[in-house]
Amino acid sequence: MNGLFFYLFGFLAVALGLAAVLQRNVIKGGVALLGSFVSLGAVYFTSGAEFIGIVQVMVYGGAIIVLYLFALMTMDLEKMKEEPLRLGFVSAGGFLAGVLFLLIVYGAMSLEGAPSLTVSGAKELASPLFYRFLLPFEVVSVLLLVATIGAVAVGRREE
Amino acid sequence: MSLLKKATFTDLLKGMKITLKTMFKPTVTVHYPFEKVPPRKRFRGIHALKLNPDGSYRCEACYLCAEMCPSNVIDMEMTEGKDGKKELVDFTVDLTRCLFCGLCVEACPRDAIVMTDIYEFSQYSIDKLILHKEDLLELGRYYQKRQRERK
C-alpha cells in the first residue's frame, strides 16, 4: 500500500515538475511547481519521514511558492508570454540540470542497500544536525546570512 | 506609558468591552413587515379625494392642484353637468412621477385632495401606479374614517 502511494506521488512530482518547466503561463507553472513540491512531501511521508515531509510542504509550498507567485503577479504576464526562448539560457540550464542529475545518480549508486528510515520525527533529524554535522550546518547558515545581507544591500534604496 | 497601553491592548480591550455590553442590551430593530412604525400625524403618503357628507364630489375640477404640481402628476377630465356646473369625470394621479411635496393639498380651495398616511403602495405593474377617480375616492373614504378615529 505504502509502496503504491510512493510511486504514485513520485510520478506526480516528476510529471508536475515537467509541467512547471514546459508551461508557458507562468502562474500555472508556479501552481504546477506547488503540486510537485506537495507530492514530494507526500513521497517523504510514504517513506516514513513524516517531519521532513511536513516541512517540505510548509516551507516550499507555504512560503517559497507564495513568494514566487507574488513576484510573478507584479510583472506583466502578457509580455512574458511573447518572449522567445533563448538558446543560450536553455542550453546552460540543461547542462546544469544534466550535471545535477548525474551527481544524484552517482550519490544514489554509492548507497549500500536501502537507507534506514529513522528520521520520522524532529528529534531524530535534529540531533545529527546539531552534533555530527554541526560545522556544515553552521557554514550553510552563515552562507544564507550572507545572501540575506547581500539581498538587503542590493535591494536597498539609496538615501 | 503609551507603550504600556499598547502592549496591554488597553484601548482594544475597552472597545471589546463595549461590544460585549451592547450584546446584552435589548435590540432596537423594528421587524418591519410584521411590526410597523405608525407614520407621523403630518406624514404625506399617497393622495385621496374627499367626498362631501352628502356624497357629492368635493372637487370642482378647478385645475389649481394640477397647476401647482411641479412634476405634472395630476390630470383631470370634466364635463358640463345637468345643472350647468362643472362635473368631474376622471381624476388621475401618476404616482410614478409624484414627489409627495404636498403642494396640491396646499393649493386646493375646497380641501378636496388630501394625503393619506399610506406608504406601502408598490405594484408589480407600472400602470397600477396611476390612480384613477375610483381609487382616489376609495382612499378618501379610508382617510376620512382614519380622521374620525384620530379624534
Binding site: 503561463n25 502562474i27 500555472k28 501552481v31 506547488l34 506537495v38 512531501g41 513524516e50 517531519f51 511536513i54 516541512v55 510542504v57 510548509m58 509550498g61 507555504g62 512560503a63 511558492i65 507564495v66 513568494l67 507567485l69 507574488f70 503577479m73 507584479t74 520520522s120 520525527g121 524532529a122 | 491592548f9 482594544l12 472597545g15 471589546m16 463595549i18 461590544t19 460585549l20 451592547t22 450584546m23 446584552f24 442590551k25 435589548p26 435590540t27 432596537v28 430593530t29 421587524h31
Partner: protein, 319 residues
C-alpha cells in the same frame, strides 16, 4: 483501524455539520453586538436561516466569467475545503483522534499555510481587477503572519518538547495550562490565527468596502459557498488548536474518568475562541494593508523571536 476510520468520519462530519450553525450564530452575535437582532424570519428566531441559505446557494446559477482561467477557477474553491479538512483530520478532539501523528501541530500549520492558495488562485483566475488585488493581498498577508505564527509555536513546542497534540495535553495535565507559561505566544498566536483565516480586522483579501467582494467577487452558487466552508472549518480547527496548546485541551475536572466530558470541555474551549472571532469582527475596523504588514513584520516577528528565548529559559527550569 476501524476506530480511526470512525473518528475520521466523526471529525469530518462534525466540521461539515458545524459550519451552518456557526454562520447562524455569527450573524446573531454580530447583530446583537450592534443592537440589531440578526436573522429572524426563517423559523423561530431565524434558526432555519442557514438551511434557507444553503438551498439558495445550491440552486443558484454557476457562473464562470469569460476570460477566466477555467481550470484554476474551478480548482480554487475545492482546494479551500480540501486543505481545511486535511488540517482538521489530525486534530484530536478529546479521545477522538483520527490520524495520530507525531508532528500533528506542524501538519496543521502546513495545511493552513497552503490553504491561502485558494484565495490566491481564485484571485488570479477570475480575470478581474478586484479579485486580482485581493489575491495579491492574500499572498502578502501569508508572508506576514506565517513567520510570527511559526515562531510563536516554536516557543510553545520548546516548552512542551513535542509536536504531538496528545503529548502536549499530557504535559499540561501535569504542569498546568500553557497560557500561564507562554502568555506572549498565546497573544501572538491568537492574532495570527485571526489573520490566517482572513477575518476582521485582518480581512484584507475580502475587504468589501475596497475590493467589491475580494477574491470571491466572480464566484457564485456552491463554489462561493465552498470558500466559506473552508474559512469556517479553518476557524474551528484553529480554535481547537488554541485550546489544545494553551488551555489544556480536553483536560478538566472529572475528564480522566469520563472521556466524553473531555470532548465536551475541548469543544467548549474551542467554542469560546470561535465566539472571539465574532467578537473581534464586531469590534474592530479593518487594518490598512501597510499597517497590517507593519505590525506583523516590525512588532510581532521580533517579539516572537524574543519569546523563544523566554521559552528556552522556562524549559530549562520546568523541564
Amino acid at each position: 483501524m476501524i476506530e480511526h476510520f470512525l473518528s475520521l468520519l466523526f471529525i469530518v462530519g462534525l466540521m461539515l455539520v458545524a459550519v451552518p450553525p456557526i454562520t447562524y450564530l455569527e450573524r446573531k452575535v454580530l447583530g446583537h453586538m450592534q443592537q440589531r437582532s440578526g436573522p429572524m424570519v426563517v423559523g423561530p428566531h431565524g434558526v432555519l436561516q442557514p438551511i434557507a441559505d444553503a438551498i439558495k446557494l445550491i440552486f443558484k446559477e454557476d457562473v464562470i466569467p469569460r476570460g477566466a482561467d477555467k481550470l484554476l477557477f474551478v480548482f480554487a474553491p475545492s482546494f479551500s475545503v480540501f486543505a481545511a479538512l486535511l488540517a482538521a483530520s489530525v486534530v484530536p478532539i478529546g479521545f477522538i483522534n483520527a490520524v495520530p501523528m507525531k508532528s500533528g501541530l506542524l501538519f496543521v500549520m502546513a495545511m493552513s499555510a497552503i490553504s491561502i492558495y485558494a484565495f490566491f488562485l481564485a484571485g488570479y483566475s477570475s480575470n478581474d481587477k478586484y479579485s486580482f488585488l485581493a489575491g495579491m493581498r492574500a499572498a502578502a498577508q501569508v508572508l506576514g503572519y506565517e513567520l510570527p505564527m511559526g515562531f510563536a509555536l516554536m516557543a510553545v513546542v520548546i516548552l512542551f518538547g513535542s509536536f504531538d497534540f496528545n503529548e502536549i495535553v499530557k504535559w499540561q495535565q501535569t504542569h498546568g495550562w500553557g497560557i500561564f507559561y507562554q502568555p506572549i505566544a498565546f497573544v501572538i498566536f491568537l492574532i495570527m490565527m485571526v489573520a490566517e483565516v482572513c477575518r476582521p480586522p485582518f480581512d484584507l483579501p475580502e475587504g468589501e468596502s475596497e475590493l467589491v467582494g475580494g477574491f470571491h467577487t466572480e464566484y457564485s452558487g456552491m463554489r462561493f459557498a465552498a470558500f466559506f466552508f473552508g474559512e469556517y472549518i479553518n476557524i474551528i480547527v484553529l480554535s481547537l488548536v488554541v485550546s489544545l496548546l494553551f488551555f489544556g485541551g480536553w483536560s478538566g475536572p472529572l475528564a480522566d474518568k469520563h472521556p466524553v466530558l473531555g470532548v465536551l470541555y475541548h469543544l467548549l474551549k474551542a467554542g469560546f475562541f470561535i465566539f472571539l472571532t465574532f467578537w473581534l469582527r464586531a469590534t474592530f475596523p479593518r487594518y490598512r494593508f501597510d499597517q497590517m504588514l507593519n505590525i506583523m513584520w516590525k512588532i510581532f516577528l521580533p517579539l516572537s523571536i524574543l519569546n523563544i528565548f523566554i521559552a528556552a529559559v522556562e524549559a530549562l527550569f520546568v523541564g
